[in-house]
């Protein structure tokens, strides 16, 4: 599977709660890093956190950009009327995902000083 397809398949498997499929897409040495909270998970931890993530969340893929062994995706995660957004940097090797560096940007207020220059 090439990178773009691998990442698209991962998000679909997550949405379907198809954990054996998710597991199959991850390399044995897979590591996930969430830099904002400085959390790191190995393959088992990543699966566990996603399985246990509270609430009836749903994923929509916004974009997937693939370059050789790196893939970046942007997804929306809807949960109880709230929309979160994840930007995910994946690395892959031999058809499996080996590394994920993922960001969860939150909404913020527009600062007053630059309001006049926006469209």
């Amino acid at each position: 599977m090439e990178g773009k397809q691998l990442v698209t398949t991962l998000w679909h498997a997550m949405e379907a709660r198809d954990w054996p499929k998710v597991e199959e897409l991850l390399a044995a040495g897979f590591v996930c890093v969430w830099p904002q909270s400085d959390e790191r998970f190995d393959k088992a931890g990543f699966l566990r956190v996603n399985r246990e993530y509270p609430g009836d969340w749903h994923i929509r893929i916004c974009q997937v950009i693939a370059a050789d062994m790196q893939v970046v995706s942007e997804v929306e995660v809807t949960l109880a009327g709230r929309i979160d957004r994840a930007v995910s940097f994946f690395e892959l090797e031999a058809g499996k995902l080996t590394r994920l560096r993922e960001f969860w940007p939150e909404p913020f207020e527009v600062p007053e000083w630059r309001r006049r220059w926006a469209l």
Copy 2:
């Protein structure tokens, strides 16, 4: 200039406050979108906001991933001892940057429920 070089040159020009160079890298119809605050800027507005951005900020490029007409970068912006992070999705055309969709993820606390599964 190819995509990776274009984006690297942009960040270096921003760091150098070389605004004529930044202007040169952006297409006439350039648009920047900050989805977290729902702000949009045209070329003039983007230049103005960056020129006026308060404080002695400094940029370090962490990674640049290029695929055809799309480039994604992750940079660190240091300002008064604080480190912010930007994830930027660029689109390009005819050697100029046409579009920027940019995220500024903030640090967050580790939720208690998943602490036991982290490395």
